[in-house]
């Protein structure tokens, strides 16, 4: 990852500003999608999304080929208690002491689009610490590492698809996509469904974060419903008195991609 200049004067000539990126985001949101984008029909995550500069050379241009899943694709890898220790749900207890930051609980259910529970499946999460720093060598943000926070957790979902993590609220952090680019606070989620067709990786965001409208990764989803699907709800019933604030976020996996092809004329209604 490139060093991130601390003043505009240090950016190379022609480096886009937030205003440039925001104008591109607004243009695409106002119904000028890249028409070749195979995801446009579903109006969910666009993969040909130039405001996120790294996507330009890393998305397929051809339409996805629609196929019947084979039996192996209708099954999913098995994970068990051999794979995930029961303590891995709590990112605040992975080292010796308590990490810095605002302790939170993130809980919800994993289901398919018909509401059927995804039971006994693996969720993996990773995140920045409270200062917006990831524990990885490539990371260049000059915020401190926290000796008591690795930022990695795993759980197996319960019989009803439920999961719970205890962690700290991640900080926002800068990145080099454009001048003064900041990622909103988020937690990365890797999700296995009941079928391999449902495999997904995504990011969970926090309600009210003022960086979401500015962020080209979040804005690669152009519908309000699609965006809402990534934002957790603050839930006071999850909050534990004198200990941690609670957020609820349900995950809906979907291996059925037909909707990608059903509305090629434009976006779904945001009913």
């Amino acid at each position: 990852m490139d060093d991130i200049p601390k003043s505009a004067a240090n950016y190379p000539p022609g480096h886009p500003t937030q205003a440039d990126i925001s104008a591109e985001i607004a243009d695409i949101a106002a119904n000028h999608p890249t028409s070749s984008d195979p995801n446009w029909g579903a109006h969910r995550t666009l993969i040909d999304y130039p405001p996120y500069r790294s996507s330009i050379l890393r998305h397929p241009s051809a339409n996805l080929e629609l196929v019947d899943p084979e039996t192996i694709e209708l099954a999913s890898p098995a994970f068990g208690h051999r794979d995930v220790h029961w303590t891995e749900y709590d990112l605040t207890q992975m080292v010796n002491g308590e990490p810095q930051g605002e302790r939170i609980i993130v809980t919800g259910r994993v289901t398919d689009a018909d509401g059927r529970a995804v039971a006994g499946q693996l969720l993996e999460i990773w995140q920045a610490n409270a200062g917006g720093r990831y524990r990885q060598k490539k990371e260049r943000h000059p915020a401190p590492l926290d000796p008591n926070f690795n930022g990695v957790g795993r759980v197996l979902t319960g019989a009803d698809g439920s999961y719970k993590f205890v962690t700290i609220k991640p900080g926002a952090y800068p990145w080099p996509n454009h001048e003064n680019a900041w990622r909103p606070a988020h937690i990365h989620f890797s999700v296995f469904g009941s079928a391999f067709t449902q495999r997904m990786v995504t990011q969970m965001y926090f309600p009210g974060d003022q960086l979401m409208p500015l962020d080209p990764i979040f804005q690669s989803i152009t519908s309000a419903r699609g965006q809402k699907s990534l934002i957790s709800d603050y839930d006071h019933d999850v909050t534990v008195p004198n200990w941690a604030l609670g957020y609820r976020w349900d995950i809906v996996v979907n291996g059925d991609s037909r909707t990608w092809f059903e509305s090629l004329d434009g976006p779904e209604e945001d009913a």
């Binding site: 050379l57 694709e73 990831y134 524990r135 490539k138 990365h188 990011q203 990764i217 699907s229 809906v252």
Partner: protein
């Protein structure tokens, strides 16, 4: 989409720091390297300019050598003699990825054998599904493969090499791999 359906959660990129959350020891070895019957499945991940993608993740999910769908857990913490069927390899600075595994067998006679594959990367906003087919006569009769142009079909079929199979994945461009959506 009908009213009874829940709205699916949208995909997002794995970003540059997936290594802290997705890497684990032994993720690439579905069976021990060099064990009897093992093969190496290897390849390179490329972008639309043909440049290596150094920060991608390739996952495979496959039948065992007898065509059974694995039900053993132990895909994160491997267990001798057990076959979980799932593997994960990051792509390195050359875009290189590799797995040590067994050749998958078809789930039914006459069907082609393949690895189910999911690709993630920094810069790739949504997962991509594809397949890596094992070369064999069954491929010529497969209704899906035969409907593709020869050039597109070739992007799904591995090449036999000493010790296993080689298969490159191109995210974009003239050699773009065929990626899948499911009925």
């Amino acid at each position: 989409m009908s009213d009874t359906q829940l709205y699916p959660t949208a995909d997002q990129t794995v970003g540059p720091y997936y290594g802290i959350g997705m890497e684990y020891p032994g993720s690439e070895e579905l069976v021990p390297h060099g064990s009897a019957g093992s093969i190496v499945l290897s390849g390179y991940l490329y972008d639309g300019n043909g440049a290596p993608v150094p920060d991608g993740v390739i996952e495979i999910w496959q039948t065992d050598a007898d065509g059974n769908i694995p039900t053993d857990s132990g895909n994160l913490v491997r267990k001798a003699g057990s076959f979980g069927g799932f593997g994960r390899s990051g792509s390195d600075d050359d875009g290189y990825f590799q797995f040590t595994t067994v050749l998958p067998a078809p789930t039914a006679a006459g069907k082609p054998a393949f690895f189910a594959v999911v690709v993630f990367a920094r810069g790739l906003l949504s997962r991509l599904h594809t397949r890596i087919y094992v070369p064999g006569p069954e491929l010529d009769a497969d209704p899906f493969l035969t409907r593709l142009t020869p050039e597109r079909r070739a992007t799904l079929i591995a090449t036999p090499v000493a010790g296993g199979l080689r298969h490159d994945i191109h995210l974009q461009g003239e050699k773009e791999t065929v990626f899948l959506a499911f009925n």
